[in-house]
């Protein structure tokens, strides 16, 4: 997993909780990297899982909620870091369709070894978009948070509803998000 995910996660912990909590969850995680992340490095994704679990223990929050919160925060950070991928005049559904068809293609050009999740989309009807997340890392909550961040960025969070269906027996490795625009 790219280091930017870790650095942004720790930034979020600093901001939303405290630097001390950030240090504690690193200390308690027994990480191979010792928590010394650089945005352009690549690290084992299980380190993120350990950090999230430790954060849940520190704060008493649920892991899925923390991951989803991080996803939403991470989307805004990604827009700030890579603004050229986002056209604010674009329709939110069109942007979500471009994740798989454009953004991931560009990411692979820069990082050929990147192990990206599959984010398939389809439009079953007017005002409807189905986003199907699939990854062995089982980070559907992060995907959910990213979608929420996306809706927030395009200022349609209160106009688009999300119906989430886990198609991997609750493992979060394949989840279908049914997005519907309010009539």
């Amino acid at each position: 997993m790219k280091g930017v995910v870790f650095t942004e996660f720790l930034e979020m912990v600093d901001d939303k909780f405290s630097p001390e909590i950030a240090e504690r969850i690193i200390d308690n995680a027994d990480l191979a990297s010792n928590g010394a992340y650089t945005a352009v490095g690549t690290y084992d994704h299980t380190e993120l899982v350990k950090l999230v679990v430790n954060l849940a223990a520190e704060t008493g929050a649920e892991v899925p909620d923390l991951v989803r919160t991080f996803g939403e925060h991470f989307f805004h950070r990604l827009v700030a870091i890579y603004p050229h991928f986002v056209n604010d005049d674009q329709d939110v559904f069109a942007f979500l369709e471009s994740v798989e068809n454009y953004i991931h293609i560009e990411v692979r050009k820069l990082y050929p070894d990147a192990d990206l999740p599959s984010v398939k989309t389809e439009r079953p009807g007017d005002g409807q978009l189905v986003v199907t997340y699939e990854s062995k890392r089982c980070l559907a909550d992060a995907a959910h948070g990213l979608i929420l961040g996306c809706l927030d960025h395009f200022k349609v969070k209160d106009k688009v509803s999300i119906d989430r269906q886990d198609e991997s027996e609750g493992k979060g490795s394949r989840v279908r998000f049914n997005l519907s625009k309010a009539a």
Binding site: P19, E20, E23, I26, D27, N34, G35, A36, Y37, T38, V40, G41
Partner: protein
């Protein structure tokens, strides 16, 4: 943030920085190597591009790259030269505009029918079409196309060749073959005529001998008949022979002996005259069709003209009378006798046809005059026929050009004559003409030729 936390964070940041620097160095090295590879690949590509450009522009074949609508995206130098365009002028021109109307449709069909899966063109794919130069002049060309897809769009690679020279060579070869066939036919006819003339000579000889014998014998017989007449007149005075003399007179009257005495000598003379004419014609045919002379031979042109006039008599005798004005001092002229005979014959026959075309009550005139200077001899054949219209004067020596009706001419006579005089004899064949007044064809031949030629035997 307490000091402990800051210290931990500093240590972690230092480690992250080291890692980042190591990553940066590794990426820098990768970038350097990639750049090096890229530079090498780029140089290779530039080299290959230069090679391809050189091949593209040096190719004698027209090469055009078009989009799916036929708009030219790239054209080589040969294409520009073939279609008579300035460098760069063909770009954005439509290929189909470089073809005439019928070829345009054929080329569109060719492109549409071409299967993109069939990558390579073969000679069999070439189709003959008509191209247009910049000034609209049409010219024959061969055209083939191969189509391919680039970034989802159909493109065509057109290969073409200007086949003007090839067509001309084919036409020339065809013409030469026809001339050769005609020449072989004439040679066969000449050989046949020569053989027939030879076979006719023998019976003519004994017919002539017998006619002379009859003439002399009849002369002797006339003396006897005159003696018989004297005897008959004396017998008339004696009655005892009355019956016999009566019978003799009756038989003489029945046989119309007086008429026979008068007509038989002139009949024999006419026969001898006819035989002499046959003999002359046969001799002329033999001389005219003298076979096997393919080397330059010095001949008497006056004699050759006389002979040709005899041979062609049937062609002109009903429409013209001929006169000759021969230069008595004409030297023996080195030439190919059979060919020169053919030239003179063609010109005499043409003169007769021109007189016939003009029509008229009285006979026309064909006058043949020979003359010479130190270096050349001249034969002028003048007729007072219809003349040559100005519009046709530039074409009369072209192969197959004729204004004669079907069966009268193949349009090869003057072409062959011109070829014989100019190509085979280094001479000239020219004409002056006035429509409705007549034409003079003038042949000049070198009087002296090196290497030496043998005299005709």
């Amino acid at each position: 943030m307490d000091i402990g936390t800051l210290e931990k964070r500093l240590a972690r940041e230092k480690a992250a920085r080291s890692e980042a620097e190591a990553l940066l160095e590794a990426k820098s090295r990768e970038l350097y190597l990639s750049n090096k590879e890229l530079l090498k690949a780029s140089q290779t590509l530039i080299g290959q591009s230069q090679q391809l450009n050189a091949i593209f522009d040096q190719a004698l074949t027209v090469i055009l790259l078009t989009d799916g609508d036929g708009k030219i995206q790239r054209a080589n130098r040969s294409a520009e030269m073939t279609f008579g365009r300035e460098p760069g002028e063909l770009k954005s021109t439509n290929l189909y505009d470089l073809l005439d109307q019928s070829s345009r449709e054929a080329a569109v069909a060719l492109e549409r029918q071409r299967d993109p899966a069939k990558k390579f063109m073969t000679v069999g794919d070439m189709q003959e079409m008509v191209g247009l130069r910049a000034d609209g002049t049409p010219f024959p060309l061969e055209l083939a196309v191969s189509v391919f897809e680039l970034e989802g769009k159909r493109h065509g690679v057109w290969i073409s060749r200007d086949i003007t020279a090839r067509k001309e060579a084919q036409e020339k070869q065809l013409r030469l073959e026809q001339e050769l066939r005609q020449s072989q036919k004439l040679e066969s006819l000449g050989t046949l005529a020569s053989g027939i003339a030879h076979e006719i000579n023998t019976p003519i000889q004994y017919i002539n001998d017998n006619a002379h014998f009859l003439k002399e014998s009849f002369s002797d017989l006339m003396s006897v008949l005159q003696a018989y007449d004297v005897l008959l007149q004396k017998a008339d005075t004696d009655d005892q022979y009355k019956e016999q003399t009566g019978a003799v007179r009756a038989n003489a009257e029945a046989a119309d002996v007086d008429f026979l005495k008068e007509e038989i000598p002139s009949s024999i003379d006419q026969t001898l005259d006819g035989i002499e004419r046959i003999s002359k014609i046969v001799t002329a045919v033999k001389e005219f069709s003298h076979p096997g002379t393919t080397e330059m031979t010095a001949i008497d042109l006056n004699q050759a003209i006389e002979t040709t006039l005899s041979v062609t008599r049937n062609e002109w005798k009903y429409v013209a009378e001929t006169t000759t004005d021969f230069d008595a001092g004409l030297p023996m002229v080195p030439c190919l006798p059979g060919d020169i005979n053919q030239v003179i014959m063609n010109l005499i026959v043409n003169a007769a046809h021109a007189i016939e075309s003009k029509g008229g009550e009285s006979l026309g005139k064909i006058a043949i005059k020979t003359s010479h200077s130190d270096s050349q001899v001249t034969i002028a054949i003048t007729d007072n026929g219809c003349g040559i219209p100005e519009a046709n004067q530039g074409q009369i020596f072209d192969p197959f050009f004729t204004t004669k009706g079907v069966g009268k001419g193949t349009g090869q006579g003057l072409s062959i004559a011109f070829n014989i005089v100019s190509q085979k004899h280094d001479g000239t064949l020219s004409f002056t003409t006035e429509e409705g007044v007549g034409t003079t064809f003038t042949i000049t031949l070198p009087a002296v030729r090196t290497p030496e030629v043998k005299e005709a035997v």
